[in-house]
């Protein structure tokens, strides 16, 4: 768009490129002030984008887990009304498995006071917090556990000194693979490590356990046959009904001392809590944005006052009221757009860092990205409107007098 100096008698003109150049002049000349007002806006936008992104990422992770956990139930002994500890009957697993909608049942029996050591030379009190648990071959299917190395226990190995290590237990013991036959020292017996589990996502306390079969537990450690817990899966639509009949099923003599839990309840609670925090944080972000907007308005009002003589000069050079208003509006918009883009980038980076550190999928809603810059623009427009109108209304002679 190359034009020579216009010779027609029509109004003054200012091309968009020149407007941008003129509008950015104030920012280029007052960098510190410009960056501080940009900072205000970018904090607000970063907070909003970050909150939306992080909550979206972690929510999708939780929802995923919730889907996989939805039909998992746990049954355990609870204490009596007088605080006496109780046990599950030895028949618990068999009884529970006969409930129609129950698809999987696995019993576990915690063996107290027996620990797992890398060798017989390790001092007895270096337990590493690895607890010994008896279970059976149904364990991986019920809990959604998978084997990283070797195999899980089966009917044969359950009778012999064979052990499967949870992921964390294995790493604590320094056993990373099973290329060489490996043995660990458990309660005065050598056990061969036959498998190492991957981390169990649904029930993470399994990771620090070591698993042996029931027969060998009874033989070597005098396990009494009373399970300390049952893990069940039911047809998803019947979860509540199953939960209702479980206590009298597993302990017909005393149903009141049976505790049934849904692991998914914890996640649901977590989701709700996260939602509540989101509202709060978004509110804070909005307040930060508002304060940023007030900051821009403030800076612009001061800028108009300070630059009265520039306004007068520009009017004398041929700027119309509109050109003056546009100049200051563009300045406010530039401040807010720079702030909005910076804030969005910061918020997105925070989301990425957080999601990666939490092993979650990075998910930033598009709305947050466009909305962040959009909200900043809107803030800048509103903040810049009054100062630029004021600049435009200033009479040129008054502006030129002010020195």
């Amino acid at each position: 768009m190359i034009r020579g100096p216009a010779r027609d008698g029509s109004g003054s003109r200012l091309s968009r490129r020149d407007l941008l150049r003129v509008g950015s002049l104030g920012l280029r000349n007052r960098r510190l002030r410009a960056s501080l007002s940009v900072l205000g806006i970018s904090i607000g936008i970063a907070a909003i984008v970050g909150v939306l992104g992080i909550s979206q990422s972690s929510k999708s992770g939780l929802l995923n887990e919730l889907g996989r956990l939805g039909n998992l139930l746990t049954v355990g002994p609870s204490s009596t009304a007088f605080g006496q500890p109780t046990e599950l009957p030895t028949t618990a697993e068999g009884m529970a498995s006969r409930v129609g909608p129950v698809t999987n049942v696995t019993e576990i029996g915690a063996i107290s006071n027996i620990y797992v050591y890398r060798s017989s030379l390790v001092p007895a009190n270096d337990t590493l917090g690895i607890s010994l648990t008896a279970t059976d071959a149904t364990f991986p299917a019920t809990l959604g556990a998978s084997v990283a190395h070797g195999t899980f226990l089966n009917a044969a190995t359950a009778r012999y000194p064979a052990v499967v290590l949870g992921a964390e237990a294995a790493s604590l013991l320094g056993i990373n693979n099973l290329t060489n036959p490996t043995q660990v020292w458990i309660g005065g017996h050598w056990f061969t490590v036959v498998g190492i589990l991957n981390p169990v996502q649904l029930v993470s306390q399994m990771d620090s356990m070591a698993f042996i079969g029931f027969p060998i537990a009874e033989h070597d450690f005098g396990f009494d046959g009373h399970p300390t817990g049952l893990y069940l899966r039911s047809v998803p639509s019947q979860v509540n009904e199953v939960a209702a009949v479980l206590p009298p099923t597993v302990n017909p003599a005393n149903p009141s001392v049976v505790a049934v839990n849904f692991p998914s309840d914890i996640l649901k609670a977590e989701l709700v809590t996260k939602g509540a925090y989101n509202g709060l944080l978004l509110g804070l972000g909005a307040i930060a944005l508002l304060v940023g907007g007030v900051g821009i308005a403030n800076v612009m009002v001061i800028s108009v006052l300070e630059r009265r003589s520039e306004i007068g000069l520009r009017r004398a050079l041929g700027a119309s009221r509109r050109h003056v208003a546009q100049q200051f509006l563009v300045e406010a918009l530039l401040l807010s757009v720079v702030g909005g883009v910076a804030g969005t980038v910061i918020g997105a980076l925070a989301t990425v860092v957080y999601a990666i550190s939490q092993h979650q999928l990075v998910q930033i809603p598009d709305l947050a990205l466009y909305g962040g810059v959009g909200a900043a623009l809107a803030t800048g427009a509103i903040a810049g409107l009054y100062p630029s109108m004021r600049a435009a209304r200033l009479s040129p002679t008054e502006a030129l007098r002010a020195v």
């Binding site: 100096p5 050079l317 119309s320």
Partner: protein, 242 residues
């Protein structure tokens, strides 16, 4: 040092006067209204060098603002380069200032963030046109006022006289029909002021129409035509051969 450049004659202008004021009255609201200009008629032809001289408070600044279309008169007609300004919109008036009028102020009013070149080029900003073209015209104007060695300097690196020369270059760059200078030597020492007046006289000899406002009778005496103003009325209009 002035380099020869084609005289800034506005080819489009007919032999009509550059500026015509007919019975211009300017009142400011109040009780009773303050009369800044009481029925002023004035005609300035192309190529003139006119001093409007009067003590402070005489209304000469108001007169300059009315001539420069920065203020509308309460009554009367202001014609700039043959165009009646009374019916013009703000945008049209601004366009008139951008194309036909050049201003030089006592306080220079240069923008600190811009080089001499861009300050002068901004004199053409509101005409539109490409920035390269504006810079080219600005360079020519800077050469005319003898500041070609300062093109890339910032205003705060210049002396007062150089700053005012920059402002004059800005007013000249668009070859306006009329250049108005409001106390251009008011912030300068007398030697610098004298050389600046010499520059204005040279520009006048090359054909620029200049109106200079001053309270300084010595400055006014050096001009070809002197319009004396007192209490908002013209009380004298004398010419000497230049």
């Amino acid at each position: 040092m002035i380099v020869a450049v084609p005289a800034p004659v506005d080819e489009a202008a007919p032999p009509a006067p550059v500026l015509e004021l007919i019975d211009v009255v300017k009142e400011y609201p109040g009780d009773p209204p303050v009369v800044a200009l009481g029925s002023v008629s004035l005609r300035i032809d192309q190529g003139e060098l006119v001093a409007i001289v009067g003590p402070s408070g005489s209304g000469k600044s108001t007169l300059l603002h009315v001539i420069g279309t920065l203020e509308r008169p309460t009554r009367g007609v202001v014609r700039v380069a043959g165009e009646d300004t009374s019916t013009m919109s703000d945008t049209q008036l601004s366009g008139l200032r951008a194309r036909r009028l050049g201003f030089v102020f006592q306080q220079f009013f240069l923008l600190d963030g811009l080089s001499v070149l861009d300050n002068v080029a901004d004199g053409l900003l509101y005409r539109g046109g490409h920035i390269a073209e504006r810079r080219r015209l600005a360079e020519a104007a800077i050469e005319r006022v003898g500041l070609d060695h300062r093109v890339d300097h910032r205003p705060n690196q210049l002396s007062g006289g150089e700053q005012q020369r920059t402002a004059i270059a800005r007013a000249l760059a668009g070859r306006p029909a009329l250049v108005m200078a409001d106390e251009p030597t008011g912030n300068l020492d007398s030697a610098t002021g004298a050389s600046l007046l010499e520059l204005l006289r040279e520009l006048h000899r090359e054909g620029t129409t200049i109106v200079l406002i001053t309270h300084d009778l010595d400055v006014a005496a050096a001009m070809q035509r002197r319009v004396e103003i007192r209490d908002g009325r013209i009380v004298g209009d004398t010419r000497t051969g230049s």
